[in-house]
Amino acid sequence: MQPDTTAGRQRAPLRFATVGSVDDGKSTLIGRLLLDSKSIFEDQLEHIEAVSKRRGNDYVDLALLTDGLRAEREQGITIDVAYRYFSTPVRSFIIADCPGHVQYTRNAITGASTADLALVLVDARHGIVEQTRRHSLLVSLLGVPHLVICVNKMDLVGHDRDQFDAIRQEFTEFAARLDLRDVTFIPISALDGDNVVDRSANMTWYEGPTLLHHLETVYTASDENLIDVRFPVQYVIRPQRADHHDYRGYAGTVAAGTLRPGDEVLVLPSGLTSRIARIDTADGPVDEARPSMAVTVLLADDLDVSRGDMICRPNNHPTPSQDLDATIAWMDSEAPLALRRVYALKHTTRTVRAMITDVHYRLDVHSLHRDTEATELKLNEIGRVTLRATAPLFADDYRRSRVTGSFVLIDEATNQTVAAGMLRTATA
């Protein structure tokens, strides 16, 4: 198979997040994926063989491959998100390896925020447990477009089809309450390698793809929002050089939509309109800019545009607003959310200040129950809030546009990132 290209661009790496509880076999699975796809280097393998032997294991502990910082090594668990890279001739992959424990929910949210796909592990012996529900909720909230439920340790349930079907059935019923667009179930044994890279001889009843095949072929191009043109201005380029004397370009990365020279545009917050004169890159002008491309837009008219402004279309643009409705995940271990306290709020390239004026409810991440009595959110808690900002934001609904629908809150005293926010707008 040849690497495919869309619109002249090589396919981007697939970013996937793995979430699992301790002992579900997540590290073993990642080690297996790396090993069987021949992405492990000899010195890495030698290292884990040596450590396994020193610890008295009688097999090579693949989990050691993904084991990073010393604190984690000492405790034997994954705390922070660790990023891994591997590729096959068909696609390259970026894994965000996330801890599963409730105490590290913020890390799982961080890993999921950039993921095209989430991989949740389920122990075939235990089926859907509290953690599975929590992880699936996070995947749903963060709008990860694709979910794979890996039913692991099939070897411990005799590779039993009924067990697998029952788990699938139970999950499907639960997931009806979530916003999951594409769910795939794969029965695997990470330890033995069944259905990870190679098809399992033990589960001939399973006719779906192996995990790696699914990862290689999952179609992500349609996950991009190509409709709503959103170009947050990041940096104004003014060369101040004789050969480019009048050059004034708006550099930025396309958040959504497709921009072309000649397009009518509207700039927020001014509301002024113009036309795209040219779209520049260091290789010269291009005739189209699509989501995630870093380009420089030149306008036909001399408008006063600066960082934090947003270029959109006259008939399709966010309504600037200081009042925001959002689901937020609290991430600060030092202090809980404080009502009416002012935080810095960063949304695309725009930073304003904002306070939370109301907590509508706190979400129970296991039962999905909404506690409307809640007035604060602590570390790892998720809730629906209203915010008031010092200046208007150009907000889209997160479910429609991940880039222009997301923001972070920063504590101005500690500079810590204290919350992740997903905007809700009435129109979506």
Binding site: E42, D43, Q44, L69, T110, A294
Partner: protein, 302 residues
């Protein structure tokens, strides 16, 4: 007008440019670490692409151990002229002369660990608040958890347990006076991606990266170049071999690999099937201990 037919690294390139622009917009005094090594050369090219047709709006800095390969220093000076950027040289020798650090002696001594002090002193002296580096997460295990924008306190220290969550493509560059952020736009690149970029963008590199005949000797299973800065131990007999370097740092701790890769395309092909990580193969300093890199990073190393 061209339709961009972008290569394998287009998406990673866009991500890196986005990061460079964001930090240049939010920080007052950024600097790019430039050693002449391939990752820093790629960074320099990306910086130029990010601000084209304007000049790169920040200087570059080399932390010079004084034990570099002559070819690399010549390349460094030629390149900064070509890119029309200001070069600041922070010298480890100066730190030694001023008594800021103490130099170990002996055949196995390396100035590599001393660089941390020189780097932090230079950051303070020039009041840099953002330091771009070419480190990648695939290089080493402690780096796998490093943020793209990574906060350093007023002592230059990294606290891996207290890292800021980094969500979506939203980067938190806030810092107090005297603190800075380290910024790693190549975080998501692999060694192969770096070589593909070099191939696609016709990036010039120091000649050491390409196969050449050189006097080497064997130490700890690695091939070290004979060099006036590296005294040999008993039994370390020099011989000639066809080698190239996969990473280039201080001559005292960078080893060569046997290779007949004479061109960038040869190297891309060789890297695609490489069985040993570049640091595992060639960096004597990374072999110190299991947690060697993490410890040095905590103290403020690159």
């Amino acid at each position: 007008m061209v339709t961009r037919v972008a290569g394998a690294t287009a998406q990673l390139e866009d991500e890196a440019i986005t990061i460079i622009r964001e930090v240049a917009a939010e920080c007052e005094r950024p600097v790019l670490l430039f050693s002449g090594g391939k990752d820093s050369v790629v960074m320099l090219h990306l910086a130029r692409r990010a601000f084209w047709p304007a000049r790169i709006p920040f200087p570059v800095m080399h932390v010079d151990t004084g034990h570099n390969f002559d070819e690399v220093i010549a390349f460094r000076d030629r390149t900064v002229d070509l890119f029309d950027v200001k070069l600041i040289v922070a010298s480890v020798q100066d730190s030694i002369d001023r008594g800021r650090v103490h130099e170990d002696t002996g055949p196995r001594a390396s100035r590599n660990p001393l660089q941390t002090v020189t780097l932090l002193d230079a950051i303070t002296e020039h009041r840099f608040d953002a330091v771009f580096g070419g480190a990648r997460r695939d290089e080493e295990r402690a780096r796998a958890k490093e943020r793209v924008v990574s906060h350093r306190d007023e002592f230059g220290q990294w606290d891996p347990k207290n890292q800021r969550p980094e969500l979506w493509g939203i980067y938190n560059t806030r810092r107090n006076r005297g603190e800075h952020v380290r910024v790693f736009p190549l975080s998501n690149w692999t060694e192969l991606d770096v070589w593909r970029f070099i191939a696609e963008r016709d990036v010039e590199l120091p000649s050491l990266y390409f196969a050449h005949h050189r006097q080497v000797f064997r130490r700890d299973g690695m091939l070290m170049a004979t060099n006036r800065h590296v005294p040999r131990l008993d039994g370390e007999e020099p011989f000639e071999a066809l080698v190239r370097f996969r990473t280039i740092g201080d001559a005292t701790c960078t080893a060569a690999v046997e290779s007949a890769a004479f061109t960038v395309d040869d190297i891309v092909a060789e890297t695609a099937v490489a069985r040993v990580t570049e640091r595992g193969a060639t960096r004597a300093d990374d072999r110190i201990s299991e947690a060697g890199m993490e410890d040095r990073k905590r103290q403020g190393y690159f």
